[in-house]
């Protein structure tokens, strides 16, 4: 019986972490265009007869790059500029031929351009708000046409995507090359920068050539008059071993070269970003038009989506919480029995709790890879403290007389623990588990950031796309699940807390 459980658990983990592998695993970064390109690749390869898994929104460039290097994914869309200037910047590659050689050395290859150059650009508002106009010193910005022109306005507030702030083709070198005087830089989510620009909270932001929101938010794109930004030709990067494993996949991938121009990509972006359409539908439409295919996109109904999110979320919570219970109760017992050691132990576990949850999730990626595993490990670590502490408190709060009586009647240590001490601490232990469960349900939504699935997926996707309804698809069920968890443990209290402890004293 126990073995069956373990097998079931392992196979569930395998499904979640992707051990049951498809012919080809497509990856994509955590922004809209990358998702669409990933869907295009996935559907096109699939229409050529291969089995495909698309692991969407894996993270930023380094995360996806490492996933490709480690073989977790086989192919993903990227840009030549990103590869040369960011991922392989220390090699100072001059052109795409050198880039190809550098990739080959790492067992990787790339296609020719998919057909568009998605270069970074710098944007300012066309019409500044009153607040922004004060910083510009004028409300007529029509004189500002090039990035060089920004030198005249030292007080501007810049809002750049986190990645752009740190990249070797990002803000710092840009500032140097153009001798820009601005120092007030706020790193933020790219999609929020548009809102900031429109509200006058920031004056300068980074944009992409294919950004659909440039028009909507009335952004003025400045000319890169020093030719600072390299080319960002969109390409597909894939593992060289894919040529032997699945040559038909590689030739399919190659057929996508030159098929997507800047206008097409901008339109596809606009349909998802602004029209709220599913990336899968947009990608399928593109392929159907371009290649005369009849792909029906697998856009799940809201119920299917909810069922999937719920299942994934439940699995994250249940696995991590059970593991935490199994570990934390014995640790709590140890902490109660060895007071000094216990203090050290509690302090150490308390320290874990202070690590920002998102940081912990991301830190675990190099150790556990992407997907459910790092999320489960992080949730496990977070669940430890409430259970350990409540187990310890529950045991140390047992009145001395009862402790002494249990010893005095001659019960051996473990029987004492099992028959007397743990039942008496049951209420406290259960309360600890309940706290852990509720926190766990909430924290598990961060799994949406690292491809762990669950309610975090719609929450973060909605956050990025600025679509509150999509966020609700995750936020509401997550809240309900937290309430349900609370309820379940309240019921468990009726079963687990001995009746004698729930009585009011008679006299």
């Amino acid at each position: 019986m126990r073995r069956v459980h373990r097998l079931a658990l392992l196979s569930l983990l395998a499904v979640l972490t992707g051990c049951g592998r498809s012919d080809v695993v497509v990856g994509s970064k955590d922004f809209n265009e990358s998702t669409i390109l990933g869907e295009v690749v996935a559907y096109y390869v699939e229409s050529n007869g291969a089995s495909v898994e698309h692991r969407q929104r894996l993270g930023g460039s380094p995360v996806v790059w490492n996933a490709l290097l480690s073989g977790e994914i086989d192919v993903y869309p990227d840009y030549t500029g990103t590869l040369r200037q960011e991922l392989l910047s220390e090699l100072k590659l001059k052109d795409d031929d050198e880039l190809r050689e550098a990739l080959e050395e790492r067992g990787l290859r790339m296609t020719r351009s998919l057909g568009f150059d998605n270069s970074y650009e710098i944007g300012i508002p066309n019409k500044p708000t009153a607040e922004a106009a004060r910083r510009f010193g004028t409300d007529d910005l029509s004189d500002i046409r090039t990035i060089s022109d920004l030198r005249r306005y030292p007080n501007l507030k810049c809002g750049f995507a986190n990645e752009f702030v740190k990249r070797s083709d990002g803000w710092e070198p840009l500032k140097r090359v153009y001798a820009l005087p601005q120092d007030d830089v706020l790193p933020l989510e790219h999609d929020f920068a548009y809102i900031g620009l429109a509200n006058g909270d920031i004056d300068v932001m980074d944009v992409y050539a294919t950004d659909a929101k440039v028009k909507v938010y009335d952004v003025r794109v400045l000319v890169d008059d020093e030719n600072f930004f390299p080319e960002y030709e969109a390409v597909l990067v894939y593992r060289a071993d894919l040529e032997e494993r699945a040559p038909e996949v590689v030739s399919a991938i190659r057929r996508l070269e030159g098929k997507i121009d800047v206008d097409t990509m901008t339109t596809l972006n606009a349909r998802t970003m602004l029209g709220g359409e599913e990336a899968a539908r947009v990608a399928a439409d593109f392929l159907n038009t371009t290649f005369g295919l009849e792909i029906v996109p697998k856009v799940p109904s809201i119920f299917e989506r909810l069922a999937r999110y719920t299942w994934q979320h439940l699995l994250l919570v249940a696995t991590s919480l059970s593991a935490a219970i199994v570990v934390a109760i014995p640790v709590g017992i140890l902490a109660a029995k060895q007071r000094q050691f216990g203090q050290v132990l509690l302090a150490a576990i308390g320290l874990l709790q202070t690590i920002p949850s998102l940081a912990l999730f991301v830190v675990l990626i190099p150790l556990c890879g992407l997907g459910a595993l790092p999320a489960i490990v992080a949730l496990f670590l977070y669940s430890l403290l409430p259970i350990v502490r409540n187990t310890c408190t529950g045991l140390t709060d047992i009145p001395a007389g009862i402790h002494e009586s249990a010893q005095a009647i001659g019960l051996p240590l473990f029987v004492r623990l099992w028959k007397i001490e743990l039942p008496l601490a049951a209420r406290s232990i259960l309360a600890g588990i309940k706290t852990a469960a509720v926190i766990n349900v909430g924290t598990a939504t961060l799994g949406g950031f690292i491809a762990a699935g669950g309610y975090g997926v719609p929450i973060f996707s909605g956050l990025r796309l600025g679509q509150p309804y999509e966020m609700l698809e995750g936020a509401v069920p997550a809240a309900l699940m937290a309430l349900a968890a609370q309820g379940v443990f309240e019921l468990a209290e009726l079963v687990c807390v001995p009746r004698g402890l729930r009585l009011k004293p008679a006299d």
């Binding site: 009862i402 002494e404 009647i409 001659g410 004698g500």
Partner: protein
């Protein structure tokens, strides 16, 4: 039967019991009396092996109360504390039957023994189905007594067993206890701070002060021939308040 041989005990630098030799007589009630903090409870705990002596040896017959045999020896001693120390998550019966069940007694033997003890401590059998929270203070002590007696121990160690009871119930239980002790002829060590209670139970009274024995003997001897000024003060102070009956 119970013997301390050069035993001392201190907690965190404070000596609770300086080097002490003491022998307790079999088949009799020995009363340990003294002010709170005089070491009488520590003495009791040493006898049960609940605390280990810093030096010296505690003997139970010719066995040492230490190491692996402590559990075995504790089962040959019954222990009753002030508030009973009943396990609140078990019924009265559950408390009494815990050890016999652990030792895998037959159901018949267990049933007979529990009925016998309930009669002995004068507790209605239906009371046994209640949880400690549903019992009165006196009933709790009677159940506690049953639990201590269930394995038919050779020694009973009682730490202020009646200290938390109101006077009427206390007097009633005192009489019952003395009767039970007499009938069972067990070796009893009873800790109290109450001269009246000591006089009521004690064949052999040990008056303690700061961890050492101030005077030992029959109660009449302590009253009539106090060995030190402290003994005189202690006995007269309490007599003035209560009036000793013996």
């Amino acid at each position: 039967m119970l013997r301390l041989e050069g035993v001392s005990k201190s907690y965190g630098g404070t000596t609770v019991l300086p080097r002490t030799d003491l022998e307790l007589q079999s088949g009799r009630v020995t009363v340990l009396i003294g002010q709170s903090g005089c070491g009488k409870s520590t003495l009791l705990r040493l006898l049960m092996g609940l605390v280990e002596p810093d030096e010296g040896t505690v003997w139970f017959g010719d066995e040492q109360v230490a190491g692996d045999q402590v559990l075995e020896l504790r089962r040959r001693m019954g222990y009753v504390i002030q508030d009973g120390g009943l396990f609140p998550h078990m019924t009265a019966r559950g408390n009494v039957e815990l050890m016999p069940r652990f030792l895998e007694w037959s159901p018949d033997r267990l049933r007979d023994r529990v009925a016998e003890l309930a009669a002995l401590v004068d507790l209605p059998v239906e009371t046994l189905e209640r949880y400690p929270a549903q019992l009165s203070g006196g009933q709790r002590q009677r159940v506690s007594l049953m639990r201590a007696l269930v394995l038919d121990p050779e020694v009973m160690l009682m730490d202020e067993p009646l200290g938390a009871l109101d006077p009427m119930i206390r007097a009633e239980l005192q009489r019952d206890l003395r009767e039970i002790f007499r009938r069972l002829e067990k070796t009893v060590v009873l800790v109290t701070h109450d001269m009246n209670e000591a006089a009521f139970f004690g064949d052999d009274v040990i008056l303690m002060r700061d961890g050492h024995v101030e005077q030992r003997g029959p109660i009449s001897e302590l009253l009539e021939r106090p060995a030190t000024d402290f003994v005189r003060e202690f006995t007269t102070a309490q007599r003035a308040v209560l009036g000793v009956t013996s």
